[in-house]
């Protein structure tokens, strides 16, 4: 027997009951995708970067974007943030089209989004504390509240001891985790990961994936996870996080009793989506490029 578990739905019911609001209205809100691409096209000079790309990221869902170098994966993330504008098509964040928004309005949209960069992109001149506190400091939040929030986030990424260090003193994996903590400040409902495990050793890469799983299953965060590493796909699409009675987080694999439905894969090739679906379907698809990508030969 197979039982389908969607952590998202569980959270909806709890939340609506706590607030005393109607489940229907919240479900309506949740029916609006966190991110939606509609026939997005982008080209630099004669080079096509994205060709009529359409996909949806539901609330609480992780969309893994696979593809080789130069396939347009990171461009998708830059488009969601409004750092570049598409030539055609529409991009919606929380149901709001971000095409045509000016810088000021984009800043408002960006506040809903956390971004984890490939190399962490920490500000070199600021300490770990100042990096993580950056968004709150800019918003003029009270110092005590900043301190509390930074400590909470560094605890989430298990880096409480590094609070006073400078980025130059951190290892590659620590930099990425600080980057994740910085992205999560302000509790964004959407988090974008741009190849966060590139160049990391396997255990550290797994730690980063576990953080993404924790966000998906325990924090109800919608995310796009750009990667070209199959290990990441394996972790994200087959493991889930649960909390035991003592409050400890455990990671378990889906199997006969449970199947994750909040993680899907899209695969890009030369700016086109050549696959969209679950990891099981990806492995079963009959396409030589995908086979080669998955198996390396």
């Amino acid at each position: 027997m197979s039982v389908t578990v969607d952590t998202t739905n569980g959270n909806v019911q709890d939340h609506s009951m706590a607030d005393g609001g109607s489940i229907g209205s919240i479900n309506n809100l949740r029916s609006i995708p966190a991110i939606e691409f509609r026939d997005v096209e982008l080209a630099f000079d004669d080079q096509v970067i994205l060709d009529r790309v359409s996909f949806t990221v539901r609330r609480g869902e992780t969309k893994i974007v696979l593809g080789g170098s130069g396939s347009g994966k990171s461009t998708i993330i830059n488009l969601v943030l409004g750092l570049i504008k598409p030539d055609a098509g529409e991009i919606l964040v929380d149901g709001e089209s971000i095409i045509g928004l000016d810088d000021q309005e984009l800043m408002r949209v960006r506040k809903k989004i956390g971004m984890v960069f490939q190399e962490g992109a920490l500000f070199d001149s600021l300490s770990v504390f100042e990096n993580v506190a950056y968004r709150l400091t800019e918003e003029g939040v009270d110092e005590e509240e900043i301190e509390h929030e930074v400590e909470r986030m560094l605890h989430f990424v298990d880096l409480s001891d590094a609070i006073d260090k400078m980025p130059v003193e951190l290892s590659g994996g620590m930099r990425r985790r600080v980057g994740i903590a910085r992205a999560l400040v302000g509790n964004p409902s959407i988090v974008l990961f741009d190849e966060p495990t590139a160049g990391l050793d396997p255990p550290t890469a797994r730690t980063i994936c576990e953080l993404a799983i924790k966000l998906r299953d325990l924090e109800d965060v919608s995310s796009i996870f750009v990667t070209h590493e199959m290990n990441n796909l394996e972790y994200l699409s087959s493991e889930y996080a649960i909390v035991d009675e003592k409050g400890h987080v455990h990671y378990e694999s889906e199997g006969d009793t449970l199947c994750l439905i909040n993680t899907e894969v899209i695969m890009l090739r030369d700016g086109e989506i050549i696959f969209s679906g679950t990891d099981e379907k990806l492995k079963a698809v009959n396409d030589s490029y995908i086979h080669k990508f998955i198996r390396g030969k």
Binding site: N78, L81, L83, D103, M107, R108, R110, K111, I113, M115, F117, Q118, E119, A121, L122, F123, D124, Y134, R135, E138, E139, G140, R182
Partner: protein
Amino acid sequence: MNPISRFLIGLQEIGSLIGRMLRGLTKKPRYFGEIVAQMDSIGVGSLAIVILTGFFTGGVLILQAYPTLQYYGAQSNAGQGVATSLIRELGPVLTALMVAGRVGSAISAELGSMVVSQQIDAMRALGTSPVRKLVTPRVIALVVTLPLLTVAGDMFGLFGGGIVALQIYGLDSNVYISSVRAGVDYQDLLGGILKPMIFGLIIGLVACHRGLHTTGGTVGVGRSTTDAVVVASITVIIADFFLSKLLQGFFSSTMF
């Protein structure tokens, strides 16, 4: 892309940078702390090289000019010559060139490194405008501190000239000082303050523009830094000519 198109696009981008900077000035946050920090880094940090440049430029002016003036029996006008050259032209231009070399390169390299390491993207992703946070404080700091540095350079230039005149040529100090005072009028002082403000704007905008448009990794950072210094220096020298002409016309029409 041909050089003319590149030049026009560069001009358009700098125009847009000015526009965004001015729009940003009308809204919060304004980053006063950052402006003060930049003034310290740019102004106080550049003081030593500006003083040295001014001192030895003043000294060499007297060293070269005095024998000729003595030949015509006009050695009592030595101070006037140094004051006019320094305050009108050499002070503002040499200070601007020194600052373009030291500060322009540093700004371009810093912003360029931030671009290639995605720190600028991170800043935008975190809801901060890099123009407001990085460009505006640096440009304002340059516009404010460059005139002050120029005044310091001029003072030490006159001092250096005086030392050479007194120690090497035995000119009386009172003669030198009265000659300096006779050689300087309000037009010179005003021009000597206005020009560095424009030069500060040029250096700041060129350095920030080159830095923010860095492409091509660490090699690109080096290229942007070189471009920033070269373009800012040449633009300062060209602008000096047109500003001098403009100020000349303005002062003669208003009979200041």
